[in-house]
Symmetry: D2
Subunit: 361 residues, 4 copies
């Protein structure tokens, strides 16, 4: 509804910018009596944070999470849970040359047109640091989902023209690209380093798999599960597309080969990606997100200044040459927010008239 | 927020099912004193309705729109505007064989799991007829957008493996496939008819182009314009993916070739599809939607019955062999709903402190 | 959120005006598999409708409810349930003299300023007929609440200076004033008739009692149960105040006499009206609503015309001399909408982590 | 919508509790380019804070506001504005005796039933300290309203049986009771001190006056201005009733004496309190809020322990004997939130079709 709040019952409000005091999130609708595992929240933030490897921005942030509200003796109370991460390694001087110009492919042009003002320091709120709020809230959501046996996993399936061909979930966190195919991972890493040296950047594709999702999540006709997941994914910076199951490939297929058959054990296959008519069908939910190359490159590009004069720009500073590996924990977090909200809605819908039948959720 | 309501300020509530009294929509937040052009609403409904050509379902509905509320002497009053279309050509007997079984690839399995009950007649609310509500509301939204010089156009860019190669906007409504390339259109039509004869179905891709959109629409970080458009598109039945600008192709590109340069006249090119950081950048907004092959085919498929026994199903009845051409007006309508809502939000944001600067919207 | 939609999970969208096609309501979030008792809905509409007695407007409407969507074989399906009542006894000619002027104390002046246009026929959407939507939706909500043992009852406790002194629930529907004190009821009726003959109108107070409400309903800090009930009551035309428990009298008391003691069986007494800190405390929920005298009187008053010229107005036509008796079923309906929504929210909040403790709802 | 978020376009999310890190608020939808006057925000917080006089709680908090996000070079940017106030003078030991029991008339009983857990330290989130969030956000809203010439003022019109009889706006902040009648103020203060010495507490009534509100604010039929204001007021702890204009007194009057006449200069009088049909009529908006006596008194009362055993309680610690004077800035703040939100909605509604007529807002 509002631009910085996401969700209906499990509602997350994100705040903060790259070079302000920090980034935070208020989570409203957290069920009470959850024994919050803060270390698990920190682990997710560590997955997101810069400086993890040679292929990420070297900004040196520890990103330690702090609880501002909502915990009492280690348990949630039903009050809003607020998590906050301070900024420490800010370098406003790095952005002085951006004060009066716009980066092609970056939010700063369109946001300036929208707001009539801009915080050019580190991208302000358009910074990737905003995703701290998402990852922290998602880490809480995941603890609730885990109780229900729902788990979410994302991995990079392509960088540039290099595609993953095998899927070993154990491999994902063992390489800096977060690719489930170790061979492809090595090639992707080499490509990213090469691109980085050239002062360029490169895109990639992230795949998500949600396991253990019960049938019945999603709220037709407008809050369909795929519609919500799509909005969640496209709300992440640098994403330009999303597809479910076989996605765009389905548009080239015939019905006789495109549909997952149904058996007594449920839907077989993932051509539909685990969602039919916007509602989870009991299978694994599978979708992919296209991530474009980052905008901040040393390569010279045509742009304009604030007073609309032509200008050539070459961006310096600390930037990621490929953002897909760091989109992985963010996309997982956003998916978790969508799923816990859909779960709570389904519980309300089917729980109010208990005698009206079993609740599949 | 709620499952059958869409929008924040221009809010549309859809109701009705395939074999009930009819399909309707309540539009709340319509600005007062709009001289409603009902004939224009009817024309949009006529574009959506079945029986238009050999490649659409032969169900014979006139789909005449009726005003239930909100007009006074031909003008909107600020009261909710309710439009209603009665069902006439219902054939409940056609669905008797679906009473106890599920179609693979169709919403009826997952919806039954969600609700514990189902209206199997014509798909109930999962029917394509529900889109009447969207098209009617979208037709109203378009009249508001037109005042602001904003126009939306969709067309089919592929059916199965046949792609359009040229773009002549005049050609779109001149062929039943709604393809802007007349040569490709002929081949697509032939393919659809062939598939239909085989008792099969086929997918396609729809492209949307929104012209005249001012800079500044979209509300970071969660209600980004692309996030809202993506949710709108994925809320349409049979859609499985959406991509903006060059979309998934950007994931294979380098930054040095992926970004639209900026000149004194604005952003040049549509690699980003007219949206940067979730906010319109002043260029044409371009995106594509993947449409899967319809689920109702004569081809035999494995499924189960309501009591979970294995079953072979071959669907009879009146169905579309390719739904992409009929998605065209629906997708346009949903895009219009997103844009008018974003426009109203931007007017509120920038209008409340007039001295704070020019409003780009 | 939106002006004509009420509720978070059980969401009601009202549409229609006095002299249009009719009045309707879309109810979204109705739990599936409710065997809807349409006769019970009709009974509530009959309690609201004009022409019931000598003290109500003689407009002759049968107000028969019609189902436009959401029922399948008598059961709800999870689809939006739409109920519609056609207008039949419209008399546009009665309002010709109001076309160019405003009634003091009526919505038509402020609404014209808001919308820049007005539907002067029967008050347009400001008509009491709009409450048909509320009563119909409330009747559905009550069927859900009844399953949970929750019942709502309202009655008139004063008309002008005549107060009820006894409380016999059986008496309420046995007199046209809907007063639980038969003696006071007779005096109230006589006063209303006298006022009517004088071409004047009179105010009154309605009390609501909600029985069987479990502890724990209401969502601090902004969606407190009393805040939601207050908004619901003040959204009804002609209401000017609301107070819970002892209400304004508490402002004159000391703490030592103002608080309900707590015993092992729960909270004793209704000084707080069954709500503490915005959450139901397990006691009966009791509150009162102030209803002003209707604006449409034959008595001459100072006003202006549409072009802002001074004018004297004396309103003719079919109007209620005291609206409090007809507010009774409307206020009950609105309370039912608030309670079912709060109940569903509480079920979601406490149901998602089942091991976290018992759900009091 | 969500329990801790208030507003549609100007949206405020409150977080924090009495004995946690502090109290904060995220304000989303703040128009960009507002030069925020932080000193003015601090002044409002100073009006709310404890320890101001002999009649308020002696808790020693400086309540210094800190900006966590949303400002760039002193201006708002369109990003969420987050304000935070740290707790410093917490005394958890004061609440040890409340760990296992409930205060009659306090939220702690019903909240425990709702959440199944409670933060008994200082009332947790039910503490009056939560209103810091409201006052801080309201102070921002007031800066926007001031640009539009809208001003809000509240004062205490009664404490126990002592009523104010004169109205001198200058007097309000000159006495600790915030009463506009200096003579009554002295008596009220004496009464409060007497009650305090007796270990008791007392109620009062607060009146609000909103000046300069344009015609046309408020969104029928559910988001009427009075409905929104009522919800805002009843969401404040300790409030038990609200009435607009002559309020409950109107229920005893005849139409011929109850309505404000209309003249060429607008509506004359404040019997309706400046709102007709839920929409501002151009007059001063006037309403009153009933405030009950605080629950924490030394007087012994019957209650139960957590394991439901009868218990006698006498509350020690730092509490206000009469909360009405401190409700004054909180109620003003909540009214400001409602008005700025209604203003932005009206601007959107009337601004989107500029040629459709003048916007009264």
């Amino acid at each position: 509804m509002s631009s910085n709040t996401f969700g209906t019952l499990f509602r997350v409000t994100s705040f903060g910018e790259s070079h302000g005091a920090g980034i935070g999130v208020v989570i409203d609708g957290v069920p009470p009596r959850l024994k919050l595992d803060l270390a698990a929240v920190q682990r997710q933030l560590d997955r997101r944070r810069p400086g993890q490897s040679r292929i990420t921005s070297p900004r040196a942030e520890t990103d330690k999470v702090e609880v501002l509200s909502g915990l009492h003796e280690g348990e949630t109370t039903g009050a809003p849970l607020t998590l906050f991460v301070r900024n420490s390694d800010t370098r406003p001087e790095d952005y002085e040359n951006l004060r009066n110009t716009f980066r092609p492919g970056h939010a700063d042009y369109s946001w300036f047109k929208k707001y009539g003002v801009r915080d050019y320091l580190g991208g302000g709120r358009a910074s990737g640091r905003e995703t701290i709020a998402r990852v922290a809230a998602g880490a809480v959501a995941r603890q609730i989902l885990a109780v229900r046996g729902i788990h979410i996993l994302a991995h990079v399936v392509s960088v540039g023209d290099i595609d993953a061909h095998t899927f070993d979930p154990e491999a994902i966190e063992a390489n800096p690209v977060r690719c489930a195919d170790p061979d492809a991972a090595a090639k992707m890493e080499a490509l990213i380093l090469q691109v980085k040296e050239q002062g360029d950047s490169i895109g990639g594709v992230v795949e998500l798999r949600c396991q253990g999702v019960p049938t019945g999540l999603g709220d037709p006709v407008f809050d369909k599960l795929d519609a919500r997941l799509a909005a969640a994914m496209l709300s992440i910076g640098a994403t330009k597309g999303v597809e479910f199951g076989m996605g765009f490939a389905l548009a080239r297929m015939r019905g006789s080969e495109a549909h997952d058959p149904i058996g007594p054990e449920g839907v077989r296959g993932e051509r539909a990606g685990g969602i039919l008519g916007g509602v989870s069908n009991g299978g694994e939910i599978v979708f992919r997100v296209a991530v474009k190359p980052p905008a901040s490159i040393r390569h010279e590009q045509n742009t304009v200044t604030l007073d609309n004069q032509p200008h050539r720009i070459a961006v310096q500073g600390r930037h990621d040459p490929c953002i897909a590996p760091r989109v992985v924990p963010v996309a997982e977090a956003m998916a978790a927010l969508v799923l816990v909200d859909a779960l709570m809605r389904q519980i309300a819908l089917r729980g109010v008239l208990p005698e009206a039948g079993e609740d599949d959720a």
